[in-house]
Every structure is written in structure tokens, then in C-alpha cells.
Symmetry: C2
Subunit: 358 residues, 2 copies
């Protein structure tokens, strides 16, 4: 009950645009045949908000590769369940509370929602909201909460710090290195004293990795005809940690260069997302993990939420001290969701892809 | 100096047959073109034995699949280094000390050597020998030291107990289940309260798994046209631990049936040993390890030697109490090495393959 209820009685029915899935896309990059925008009328009057709920106006959306796995229509045991057809899409969002039926949140609060409807306005339970300290004097911007301090940053931290066990001098290879997760993973490994090499999809991003994110070296995988030869060149002393974002032929090449006891935290395999599994590239040299005693481990953030506090403590420090930088590729307006999502699979982006909704 | 030196002054030059590698075999099952037997004259007189060495007459040889990886001539980072051409082969052997230049060993001692020349007689450093308590009243036979109490048993124990983390009720799948490692792995998992299913290459061995080794169920993979369908049938509740001995298509099928948090200790991949890596079966669904947070870990015994005492304590208890049985496929005479080794890749054997040399 109560809280800020009634402060904006004039707030009534709004037009809210939202994205939904109209057809599953078992392979290929989803198009406007699959992802559609529609406008709904939504009542935000005080009687329309249930107790312990809030009405939220969306400010920022995080555009993430893992969403692809929820659009195939095929249960592969991947991440989260499939999106339901004709239901609004769900992603990580930052919004402003515009009406609250709870003492926990007040109008004007800036909140993050890991399961936010990709809709201009939504009415959601308190339990899915967490308040963000939107201090204007802080060195932390709102999109930082979707990158270094958000899901990509936490993903990078779990992979590098928790599973990677980095030591000073460890040879670390990050694929998809200029993406939202990769850019943080590489910077974290550098902070642990590692030698860090990244691969990415354009010369411009190679430059970014070396000049802005402090990678020791980087290469454009589109220019390498032989990944094996590239890794021989960049890792004369082998690979101790491979932060796996890509899969397929790149993983196969890496397995020919792993050192004894190497760790491969597997965050995702973006090169394989748009193919049915039987069409994916097979990895033929898995036997190498025996002789080199490699540990390859898939992970999802849900299993590490008990470490979120540790992560935030460490990462807020790094961000405030300017030791971890984030680059954001910002699309504008909720209507840009399809374009921004498709861009994830084109290697055209640098940094974390986000949408500034308003 | 000294020890039993001089007790058998009459022991002079012996004729000793030994196996050596005359050519590498990059693919296929090695034949008499690659593995050859020769006879050497070996002096075992007291002046021929260096200090801290012993002369050993070989009694038993362990015939193991991993030896294949030392015969390819290709450094793949697998297990041990390649055998040198024209040098005697090395395997795990049990022998009797026939002359000693050390107070640690006396004539007549029964010893095990993890790096034994596959030769009727050899002169080896003490450091590679460990005495076996060959107590005739014990329930432990000499070949047990090459199976449940030897390298295969320790391998099974590391995979199941150390890496597999078995719980009562865990669903455990063992491939190559009637082999030297598999038979112990399955019995260990049963002792931990798991539900254990094995696959093997003949109906006779299926029977063995169920009737002698206590598997809950087992199937003949040669009769299954669709591994995926077979696993659906035998694992309606999914797989929690897969003890990986096989690789290729079987691993791929398993990855479609893993439960959340499944463990895959990777002991070896026998289906892949006789192929060059680029010809091996690619595994296309590795992406499943992300969504199911699977931990796949290659292991070699060398990294677990500090646990050998724990293993022996547990396993000697099991063997003496009749809780772990071993079956041995015994070949006779050192001349049978090639035949016995080739048999490992034919699915014609049940149990641990050993040679009784004399």
C-alpha cells in the first residue's frame, strides 16, 4: 500500500510500444518476420497497479546475444526457456518508477530489472526491481549498470576471477573481445597481472582493444585464414585461460594451444547461435583436454548470485578508479531493438550494445 | 651397495625378449609393421647392475589403451611423450627381483613398476619400483595390482570419487564399461549409491556388467543405431555424471542428455585414438555445456598421486570385502603383446587386459 501512491493522479492511460516474438527462428539471424513492435494502451492509474508492484518507464535496454537462444523454438537446455509467441520480450532494463504501490520504491527512483519487459511502460512486481544509486557526482553512468556493473561485467568476473583462477603472467585469450563481456573480461585479466590477447571482427576494434582496453595484443579473426597459425603467433607459450565466447573452429584451434591445466570458462558460443545444432561446427580435438588436463566449464550467472556482492564491491572500485572502462554502442528509441539485436551477429559493434529508450 | 648382492652369482647372461616400436602409426590399429619383438642378450652378473638398481624378471604386463597415443609420432599434447623408435616399449609391469644393488629390495621381492620395460628381463633404478605385499592368504591376486588396485582402479577412483562427486541417486553413465577402468568405475559408483548404466560392445559383456559388476542396466552400443534414442531410454531423468572413455558420437549424444551441473571426467576417448585429429568425429553440441553448466575435465593420474594413499586405503578395503570384483582377460607369454594390444580396439575383451609373462 501507499508509498508514493497518488502523487501523480493525472497519470492515466499511456500508449506503450513493446517488442514481441511472432514466430520462432530456428536458424539464421531473426528478422522482422520474427520480431515485431506493437503499441498497447496501458492503464497506469492508481487502481491499475497491484500492491507490491510499480509502474516503470523504461530508460535503457541491454541488448544481449543470449536472447537469441530464447527465440529458436527448440528446447536445447540452453540458458532460459523459450519466449512464448506473441508475448512481450524480456531483457535487462533500467527504468524510472512512475507510480508505486510499495514503501520500498518511490516515484522517481531509478531501478534495474533483470527481467524487464522490452516495453516503454510496464507494471512489475517489486521483487524484480533493484534501486540504482544514480548519483550525478559519481563516475558511474546509467549504461555502466548494463555493462561493467551489470550482467556482462558479472559474467566476465565469474569467468575470469571465479573460474579462470588467473595468476600474474598467465596467458589469457579472450574471443569476442570487444563485446560487452569480452571488454570487461580482458581488463579484469590485465588487473590480475595476466598477458591478455583478444580477437575481434574488425581492425577498428583491434585498435580499441589495444588502445582503450589495455590488451597486450589483439587480432582481427576475419583476416586470419588459419586460426591455428594465428594462435601459434600470439601464444608462443600456450594458453592458460581461454574465455570462450565463440565456439566452433576457434575453440578447436584453441585446444591445439592449451597449456597443461588450462581453464576454459564457457560463457557462450556466438558463432554457433544461428545454426541448428546438427549444422554446427564439430570440435574434433577434444581428446586434447585429457593430456593437458583442461577444465572446460559452462556457467550461468544464476548459480553465482551469492557472489554478486563480492563482484560489485570489486567492480565499483575499479570503475570509480578508472581502471575499468566501458564502451557502449548506443542505439536510440525502442524501435531500434531489431536492428541493434541483429548487429550483435555482424561483428559491426564495439562495446556493449544498449538502447537509450528516452 | 650390497643388499642381496651375490646371492645368485651363477646368474649371468640371459636371453631377453622385448617389444619395440619400429615405425610410428599415425592412424589405424598398430600391426607387426610397427610393433616388433626382438631378443637381446642381457648381462645380469653382479658387475652389470649399477648401485641403487635391481634386475627384475617380468611376471605380468598391463595392456592399456593410452599406450596407443605414444605410437602416433605426432605430438598432440596427449598423455606421455611419443615412444622413441627402436627403443623398448614401456608399460606397467609386475616382476620379481632377481638381483639387487640396494638395501631396499631383496631377491624374491615382488615389485610393481609404472614405467617397466616390456621385456622379459630388465635392470631398473630402485626409484621406479614399489614392493607388493604378495601375501598368499590375502584375497588380492597379482593381476589385481594391475586392475582394481592399479592404474585402472586409481583412474576410475579419481574420475568417479574425486571429480564426479557422486551422490546417492545420481544418474551415472559409464562408457567402455566392461574395460579395465570402466568395470571399477561402475562398481565404485554403485558403492556410492548411484544408479549406474554402462555401455559396451557385446551382449556377453552387457550380461557381465549386470550380473557380475552390479550395473543397474547396460546396453550394447553396436546394436544401437541411434545413441540419442538409447540414452533417452536408459536415462529418463538425465545424466549427472558421465565417465568419458569413448568420445566422438557418444559424447555428442551424452551432451543432449546431461542434467544441470553434470560432471564429465574425461579419462580417454578410445573411439578416436586410431584417427588423426582432423579425421576425428567433431562434437557439434558443446554449446549445451553452457545452459546446463556442465563441467568437463580431462585428467591424468600424475596430478593425483598425493591421493594414491587414500585410494589404496579405500580400494583395498573394497577388494578384501569382495565389494569390488575384477575380471581379467589374460594373454600368455610376452609374445602375445601385439595381439593383446590390438584387441583393446576390437571390443572383443571383457575386463582388464593383462599378459602373464611366465
Amino acid at each position: 500500500m501507499g508509498g508514493a501512491g497518488g502523487a501523480k493522479e493525472e497519470l492515466g492511460v499511456v500508449e506503450s510500444r513493446e517488442w514481441y516474438l511472432s514466430a520462432y527462428a530456428p536458424d539464421g539471424v531473426p528478422t522482422s518476420e520474427h520480431l515485431k513492435l506493437r503499441t498497447l494502451s496501458l492503464s497506469l492509474g492508481p487502481d491499475s497497479i497491484p500492491d507490491q508492484h510499480a509502474a516503470v518507464k523504461l530508460l535503457w535496454i541491454s541488448v544481449d546475444p543470449y536472447l537469441r537462444s530464447r527465440m529458436t523454438g527448440q528446447e536445447e537446455g540452453l540458458y532460459f526457456p523459450q519466449f512464448e509467441l506473441n508475448q512481450v520480450l524480456i531483457g535487462v532494463g533500467i527504468g524510472r518508477v512512475i507510480r508505486s504501490k510499495s514503501s520500498e520504491f518511490a516515484e522517481g527512483d531509478i531501478v534495474i530489472n533483470l527481467f524487464s519487459p522490452i516495453a516503454e511502460y510496464s507494471v512489475v512486481p517489486n521483487a524484480s526491481l533493484r534501486k540504482i544509486d544514480a548519483d550525478p557526482t559519481s563516475k558511474i553512468s546509467l549504461p555502466d549498470y548494463l555493462s561493467s556493473l551489470g550482467v556482462p561485467g558479472f559474467t566476465a568476473w565469474v569467468g575470469i576471477v571465479v573460474l579462470g583462477n588467473p595468476k600474474p603472467g598467465s596467458n589469457v585469450y579472450i574471443s569476442a573481445a570487444a563485446g560487452g563481456v569480452g571488454m570487461v573480461a580482458g581488463q579484469l585479466a590485465k588487473l590480475k597481472g595476466c598477458r591478455v590477447i583478444g580477437s575481434t571482427g574488425s581492425d577498428e576494434k583491434v585498435k580499441l582493444l589495444k588502445e582503450e582496453f589495455g590488451y597486450d595484443d589483439a587480432f582481427n579473426y576475419n583476416k586470419e585464414t588459419d586460426f591455428d597459425a594465428a594462435l601459434s603467433k600470439y601464444f608462443p607459450n600456450g594458453i592458460d585461460i581461454y574465455f570462450e565466447n565463440v565456439g566452433g573452429k576457434m575453440l578447436e584451434a584453441v585446444l591445439n594451444h592449451v597449456n597443461h591445466g588450462a581453464r576454459i570458462p564457457v560463457c557462450g558460443m556466438i558463432s554457433q547461435y544461428n545454426k541448428r545444432w546438427t549444422e554446427r561446427e564439430g570440435v574434433r580435438n577434444l581428446l586434447n583436454i585429457v593430456g593437458k588436463e583442461v577444465k572446460m566449464q559452462g556457467f550461468l550467472l544464476g548459480s553465482y548470485f551469492d557472489r554478486f556482492g563480492d563482484f560489485m564491491e570489486e567492480m565499483v572500485g575499479h570503475v570509480k578508479q578508472g581502471k575499468i572502462h566501458s564502451k557502449h554502442k548506443i542505439y536510440n528509441g525502442i524501435e531500434s531493438f531489431l536492428e541493434s539485436f541483429a548487429s550483435l551477429f555482424s561483428s559491426s559493434n564495439s562495446g556493449k550494445v544498449v538502447i537509450q529508450v528516452v
